[in-house]
Amino acid sequence: MRQTHCLRLALCISFFALLSRLPAQNSSEADLRQQLQLLQQQIQEMRKEYTENMNRMQAEIQELKARSAAAPAAPVTAVAAGQDATRLLQPGPGDQPPAEEAQAEDLLERFIQQHAAPLLPAKMAESLSLDASVVIDAYYHRDDSREGISHLKEHISGFGHHHHGHGHQHGVIENGFNLRHIELGLSAAVDPYFTAWTTLAFEHHEGVEVEEAVIQTTNLPWNLTLSAGRFMSGIGRLNRQHSHNWDFIDTPLVYEKLFGGHGVTETGLQLTWLAPTPFYLLFGMEAANGENELISNSIGGDELPDHDGPRLWTAFMKVSPNLGPRHDLQLGLSWLNARNQEQHDEDHDDLPDLWLDGYSQVYGVDFVYKYNAQRAHGHGDFTLQAEYFHRKKSLQVENSLLANDLIGHHRLDWQDGYYLQAAYGILPRWRLGLRWEEVGLRNESSFPDGQDADFGTSNRATAMLDWKLSEFSLLRLQAGRSNYHTEEGRQKAWELGLQIQVTIGEHKAHDF
């Protein structure tokens, strides 16, 4: 300690000596410049040595602090040590010529820089690092249905369930403990032109699925952004949210029944344009290959024609007026059009016997209102959110093993659904949420043989209570009463879920 003190003393004296010589020699400019250069050199050297000293001293301060913390009501002085150095930096008190004021300002700045330099950590890390985060999501589920809630939901009448031979069933919820996929998110800026991120879902028993792998431009003119890769489509609102951002354990029925458990997640291109309006107005278009079992399936083979991609097109618009710091309103419109193929097993012999080819078309509208109470940890915040989707499938029979005369006939399906949910921050970190949802308000099919059918409506009411212990962990309790119109008649069930979800790694910012 004494050694460093001496060193500092010597340094400061030399610095002061230099400074005091300055005003005396201001007769010629060249001299002054030389002096300044010398001074700069001196300062550079001094700063280097000082940094080293400060690092050493910092450790000592920490030690001292730790010791003094034990004593009650000790004044907080983190930068106190090493400050006596300035005692020598300043000239003695007395009359201050005005020029010296500017000099004093510079002196102060230098003194502070020397203080700050060793205290500040490296800033580079922020922009160069690869941000990684992992979400672990597990839940306990209990319901009183005979064959399990997944079976019930799959057999909701009218929406049709089509197995295409690869035996791939997403999100089967079992009574008891369930582990949702482990989500690994990685993101970073690529270079001055692109940014990229990927989300990998590791599913228990099923391997890895690429949820997202997006390359996005950062440098396009006219407020345009182009994304390529595998992305969650911008249609609707929940569609582009990962499951860890949902307000309930499960996704609304309308999503599950119209788009499947993963929503519209596609490989293709997305172009968005942020309009130069004083309020938020965004237009987007997507072209993708269309690999969604429920709306855009390409089977091809012997029985069906091959269609090259892109087979799926979307367009969407989002608008949000400025309503001040407490209120927030967002409205959206979506449209989707896709080539679609289906194969059916009409005689239930586990072999396809009816092949259809045609189009799916989806219209959607979404609405969110948010109230920000501006209290800590979401206390008093309120969110009201609703989405409606309508799907029309228009298919033509390409081949039929059972009835040849059906070839060329049409099958049409109209299905829709909506959900309405609200969440309120009852306490800091605690939220209470309610959700009401219906699917099949319109639930009609027109079969190739000329018959028409009108199926019933299914609904579900869900309540949830969640507790965000911190930004990184969440506990959620959810209870629901469902009333499904299935192929085996109307079936009701109670559903109960208890969820724990944690995030490790990088802090994830939330989208709006």
Binding site: V76, P93, A376
Partner: protein, 346 residues
């Protein structure tokens, strides 16, 4: 020979160009977006009429936990300069805004992205390994640095310097405005007579070096310490408790002692056990004031106040625009410091 109407036309055109260019110049005000209101106020003092300065936070909310909204994207889209607190304060909401705003100029690392934390004196920079087990710890240090008037001063200097580089044509104006802001800050800190006699920078240096009292003794008797420093000088070493570890910069600058935080770890709500321990230690230390922001629940502090005699809960805005008496950065500090002195007096 030119025909007279050609000359007239030329002159008219010249005049038109001149007027038009003047109009363009006049309309061209710099659009600056800051993350917090304190930065906005300081920036406004420097730019004067030259810039249109707005802030994403409005001062009443917890700046850690702002939620991204579409209107922020719209603001960021047209911003020419982005000024942030840094040190991870905006970590939860800045990235999506910068990602979606389609504005290259203000991205991290660009000249128009100004991170003020680069120029301030930080506290609580963690040493050794940092894990989230320690609560909402910021790896770069405690980000509430604007509560130290010296850091406000440094922020102003830094913003003026950076803006001067971006807009060299306005550099002189920025410098003039900066000088008067610094002078206003110094006067509030040390009192007018002292600043006029000694100069602000020198006073800060004395204060930093801990030689202020010593040096003041050498001055003529009629020049007395005033301002915030004079107001809180009698309470040096007096223990004050806070809710969140956000007031440490203020306490440290005025040499008050931090008796403890109601949050057991940053961002973690007070537990009954922790409050019990605090009430014991507060009794021993003779803590008289708990300082907290308006957006935190006052229940824990009120519970402690009901258990201990002479313990007062002082709810004060710690950001510009965060409540009554906090119309500007200097007024906000003024309000906190006079309220604190008032509470400690009794």
């Amino acid at each position: 020979m030119e025909k007279p109407y050609v000359t007239t036309l030329r002159r008219a055109f010249g005049l038109f160009c001149l007027i038009f260019s003047c109009f363009l110049q006049g309309a061209e005000s710099i659009t600056i977006l800051t993350t917090t209101t304190d930065l906005a106020d300081i920036t406004r003092q420097i730019t004067g009429e030259l810039a249109e300065v707005s802030s994403l936070c409005d001062g009443r909310e917890d700046p850690h936990a702002l939620t991204v909204r579409p209107s922020y994207i719209v603001k960021a889209r047209t911003a020419q300069v982005w000024i942030r607190i840094g040190m991870e304060l905006e970590l939860g909401w800045e990235p999506p805004i910068l990602r979606d705003c389609r504005n290259r100029r203000i991205q991290v690392g660009m000249p128009a992205h100004i991170d003020v934390s680069e120029a301030i004196l930080p506290l609580d920079v963690p040493q050794g390994k940092v894990t989230r087990d320690q609560g909402d710890i910021h790896a770069f240090g405690n980000p509430h640095y604007w509560l130290d008037p010296l850091n406000g001063r440094l922020a102003a200097r830094y913003i003026a310097a950076r803006l001067g580089k971006l807009y060299p044509e306005h550099d002189a104006v920025f410098k003039t405005n900066l000088t008067s802001f610094l002078n206003a800050l110094d006067v509030r800190m040390f009192g007018e007579p002292l600043v006029n006699c000694v100069g602000g920078a020198k006073l800060w240096q004395w204060q930093l070096a801990g030689t202020l009292d010593n040096e003041l003794g050498k001055l003529p008797g009629e020049v007395k310490l005033g301002g915030w420093y004079g107001t809180l000088r009698p309470y040096a070493g007096v223990p004050v408790a806070t809710y969140h570890r956000s007031w440490i910069y203020l306490l440290q600058r005025f040499q008050l002692s931090l008796a403890g935080e109601l949050e057991p770890k940053p961002g973690i709500p007070p537990s009954p056990k922790h409050l019990h321990q605090l009430s014991e230690s507060f009794k021993v230390k003779g803590v008289r004031v708990i300082l907290q922001e308006p957006f935190y629940s006052p229940k824990a502090a009120e519970l402690l106040a009901s258990r201990l005699d002479n313990l007062k809960v002082l709810v004060c805005a710690n950001s510009t625009g965060g409540g009554a008496g906090a119309g500007s950065y200097l007024e906000m500090l003024d309000h906190v410091i006079s309220a604190l002195a008032e509470a400690l007096k009794e």
